[in-house]
């Protein structure tokens, strides 16, 4: 009897172990081309539905509650449960919800968060479920939720943003540069950085960040193959760009710490007045007015060099939702033109709806530098694009940054660093 129980316990432990590690199934469904709905979702809009947002409380509690209340008024049979998750650890939260099968019905996911869930067939193809999707939203927004190898779109685009260049007018003037004509190309940037270094004696910098995949894309380098199955950024063009940065680094045009500093370091140095250029979102000056009120009025915005990056937030619908009609209606309601425009009036984000394209609130400046930055950002959205493919995960991003830093420091040739980065990223993509 004792042996029987022992054997049973061992068998149970082995079974649990094997199942727990995922060997029992649940494989990647990336090969499936239609992981979403197979037809338009119709049905009565009623019942309970959950909505998860990302760090909107407490600043936008009133706005969101107003949107939800108006939805419930329009559909009296619906009861919305709103969950707002803190800013830090959001990806871990969504990951645990997805792994535990408890994704909310409607969930705020940027495209790079959505892709792994799409691969597992966890999100609804809203393009099929809601054929009117493309009529109301700008193509850049909906395209952000279309992924190679997966037909359809997996999120309603919500709000958009992009980068604007910001210049410290005081520093530019002090060191002989014209704040009215800030650099518009890399050539001009490097040329002005030289002047800046000579006149400041190397005390302050114009350039203070190393390039990333976005810069390579801007230089005309194709980052990935069309099918999204391999990286292709180890080109002579990319190597030439890194060589230019390496030369600039050797000449002392960039701070030494730029090799390990992350992107945020650029804005940090700008806030401290030790560099004269940074890139940030359209609302940067408004934030700066709190962090460094004396610097904020001296900042001059200009359009980002090359193609501006497009940042997209969207609402996806869980395929496992037990109330798809209400979930779709809620996602569409939150992201409709009226609600998005109201949201964008509260903070410097931009609607993804076509109806807002002619809204003078976004296209006309109030005369302040913050207003000009908003208009520049809004106008930039017309040409903005997602420069870094969503397939680039955390490990790949680290590897690319490490190899770019190595090339700029002179520790390896640009060609070798790019070849290594591509080889390792491809291996991660394959596995």
């Amino acid at each position: 009897m004792r042996k029987y129980w022992t054997r049973l316990a061992v068998a149970a432990a082995v079974a649990t172990t094997v199942a727990g590690c995922g060997l029992a199934g649940g494989g990647d469904t990336s090969s499936q081309s239609g992981a979403g709905a197979s037809a338009a979702v119709t049905g009565e809009i009623k019942g309970k539905v959950s909505l998860q947002t990302w760090a909107l409380k407490p600043k936008f509690t009133a706005y969101m509650q107003g949107v939800i209340d108006s939805f419930q008024r329009k559909y009296p049979g619906v009861q919305v449960t709103w969950l707002d998750q803190p800013g830090d650890g959001y990806s871990d939260k969504v990951l645990s919800q997805a792994a535990g099968g408890s994704l909310p019905d409607v969930v705020n996911l940027p495209p790079d968060f959505a892709l792994p869930l799409v691969k597992q067939g966890m999100l609804l193809d809203v393009a099929t479920a809601d054929p009117a999707l493309t009529q109301d939203y700008v193509s850049g927004g909906t395209d952000a939720y279309r992924f190679p190898g997966h037909s359809g779109a997996y999120g309603y685009p919500w709000y958009l943003n992009t980068d604007v260049d910001y210049w410290n007018a005081d520093l530019l003037t002090k060191y002989g540069l014209d704040p009215g004509k800030p650099p518009a190309t890399l050539d001009e940037l490097i040329a002005q950085a030289k002047v800046f270094k000579e006149k400041s004696g190397g005390q302050v910098y114009l350039m203070s960040r190393k390039p990333g995949l976005g810069d390579l894309a801007n230089a005309g380098v194709k980052i990935m193959s069309e099918d999204g199955r391999s990286f292709t950024f180890n080109t002579p063009q990319a190597a030439a760009l890194l060589d230019r940065y390496r030369d600039a680094y050797r000449q002392g045009l960039l701070p030494k710490d730029v090799l390990t500093d992350k992107y945020a370091g650029n804005a940090k140095l700008f806030n401290a007045g030790t560099v004269a250029w940074t890139t940030a979102g359209g609302n940067y000056i408004t934030t700066l007015a709190t962090d460094n009120p004396t610097l904020a009025p001296k900042v001059v915005p200009s359009p980002a060099m090359g193609t501006p990056p497009l940042y997209v937030q969207g609402l996806s619908v869980a395929k496992s939702s037990k109330n798809l009609p209400a979930s779709l209606a809620l996602a569409r309601w939150v992201t409709n033109a009226e609600n998005q425009a109201a949201f964008a009036h509260l903070t410097s984000i931009f609607p993804s709806t076509k109806a807002s394209a002619n809204d003078p609130f976004f296209s006309k400046s109030d005369g302040t530098n913050a207003g000009s930055a908003k208009v520049i950002a809004f106008n930039s959205l017309a040409t903005a694009a997602i420069l870094q493919p969503v397939q680039v995960d955390g490990a790949m991003s680290d590897i690319v940054n490490q190899q770019i830093a190595l090339a700029i420091s002179g520790g390896a040739s640009s060609n070798k660093a790019l070849d290594d980065a591509v080889a390792r990223c491809n291996q991660l993509l394959k596995n």
Binding site: G27, S91, L95, P116, A395
Partner: protein, 290 residues
Amino acid sequence: MTHRRWFAPWLLIAPALVWLLVFTVWPSVNTVILSFTNARPLGGGRFVGLENFHRALNDGQLAEALLNSVIYMLVCLPLLTLLPLLMALLVQKRLPGITFFRTAFYTPVVASAVVVALIWGWVLDDRGLVNGLAQRFALLSGPLPFLTDRWLLLLSAIGLTVWKGLGYYMVIYLSALGNVGRELHEAAAVDGAGSFRRFLHVTLPGVRNTMLLVSVLISVSALRVFSELYILSDGTGGPGGRDMSVVMLIQMYSRGFTGHLGYASALSLLLFVVTVGPLLLLLRLDRKAA
């Protein structure tokens, strides 16, 4: 009548056993299993045989990380074995104000490793205290790349570990020194032994077991170093990731939605094997010495 219940002892140890199984045995077994799969946080989990280990053995970055970890251990081991002993000998004396020094030496241990590493980062960066003072007094023409040079960054992290660990191991030695018989020192002194000879022939044999324990602790923690290198390099592992430790590599591969859990598990197992090596060596040396 005696009624024997075979399960009574099991019932008594059940809470501890369940804890051990859930939080120690199960994660360890799971790591071994995952290392043979292509598991991701969502999905994956297909058996891939020895592919992860084959990949690891051909991974140049892992080789560099292992080299960093071994250098870390080889430098930290003698420094953190001997310096705390000498400090313990100094603060063991009952002198006025000695409590202040004991407290001062122990303070870095109390401070959070992350906070300490951040402070060191500010001290050592291009415009930090060290470079600023050195340039102010014309000792350097330009800043030393403490945080961007492959070897200087590693040495800076080692310096931080040693500085932070001195107090901890000093306290362990203080307790061991309390057990070294005073009469042995007195007898040696009567026989004409000076301070140095008493240290060699009385103190060192008296704390030999503690030195072994300290060596084991240092070896394991040096091979598993993470916070110091991570914070000083701002999470990047330095240019080219050449200053990564094995734990940093594991963290890099395992995090996020698309973490490569299978490969990270294989790296964990390799680190375990590497960590066990010095332990066995130290235990063997101890047995021989005994």
